[in-house]
Symmetry: C2
Subunit: 208 residues, 2 copies
Amino acid sequence: MSTAEETAGGETSAWGEVTPDAARRLLIAAVEAFAERGYHATTTRDIAGRAGMSPAALYIHYKTKEELLHRISRIGHEKALEILQTAARREGTATERLADAVSSFVRWHAGGRTTAKVVQYELDSLGPDARAEILGLRRQVNAEVRGIIEDGVASGEFDVLDVQGTTLAVLSLCIDVARWFNVNGPRTPDEVGVLYADLVLRMVGGAK
Amino acid sequence: MSTAEETAGGETSAWGEVTPDAARRLLIAAVEAFAERGYHATTTRDIAGRAGMSPAALYIHYKTKEELLHRISRIGHEKALEILQTAARREGTATERLADAVSSFVRWHAGGRTTAKVVQYELDSLGPDARAEILGLRRQVNAEVRGIIEDGVASGEFDVLDVQGTTLAVLSLCIDVARWFNVNGPRTPDEVGVLYADLVLRMVGGAK
DNA sequence: GGGCACGCTAAGCGCCCGCTCAGCTTCAGC
DNA sequence: GCTGAAGCTGAGCGGGCGCTTAGCGTGCCC
């Protein structure tokens, strides 16, 4: 069912930085539980149980349940930002860089749906301080995409009236993949990435 | 603040069918609370308090807290479906009907963001039976949009490779407006509707 | 004006939540 | 073989949750 296998699919590697081992197992258990039921519907007993531990063990590695969500959210946002930065800063035309950014960003949201769902949809469950920190990362994410679109407009590759509105729409489209993507559905993450890159290029009036 | 004013903005009229008055006030209070905090983080005491009643009053009009969410979700999905059906079945080309569908659908999600957020993002908080009923309505929503796109492909107006994939993307784009739209932001619901209609027509390779 | 149905409240039941703490086990250092 | 630190558990705390119940006030029928 939804064992480590599924979460592992895209990015257990991403949790490699979390040590010690017990803390990582708890974090992965929390990602799965939050993704399945939502942050508020998940109990600390459930998280500990999935990690094969007693409820008290959680509090040796994390101060509160919210700290778990905060850590997940920050690591996830950093990964998402890194993906966009890699695509934005490579060599190539704006068209190539936008297609690359969208397809890899979408691939991450589809393949790592479990993580992405928590990262993108549980922002409001964080307290004000943690939320503010994450919003800073989200502004950087927005800036990367807007930058590529501005480059394309400047070079004449794209035809866009409302750059910020289009940026918002492109990001929204990609992020929402985490909500509807079905691992057992007809499309692979790669296929969705390719489809979405095409759709986004059409949105900016590029390639044809 | 977030008084009845905000919710009223788009569609208090939509709750007109809910009687008696006390039941409607409780339902509107629940919509606001669920939108602000999420279903699981909202207490029945909070809902009753917002409606100016004691916690016990809620149970005279609704059997459980979940019944409130179920009623909100069904009425909201019926309204969303009605909006798309109206656009899909009017006179006009596929291009005109798709633009109309997207702009009015988006206008509803932006203007009635409070309701739309609950309707679109709290589906998983419903029990299996209620969830299954709502999923039926969502399939009808999908079918309306796919119908317009198929018409446009048949008439040669649109150039779409993956009809179902594009349908999913169009709906996803429109629905996600409820997540990011800010009432105090720079754009009115009308403006977002117009922008999105343009973006979607580009996605299907239509109008220029 | 007596009886009663209806809408509501005050009080509180039983449960399970996030979180704590005393104490057990394991193992490295000597 | 003893000691201390680290990692974990069993038991349980205070509190807030969804929901219930006994009873009060009000207005309608006769």
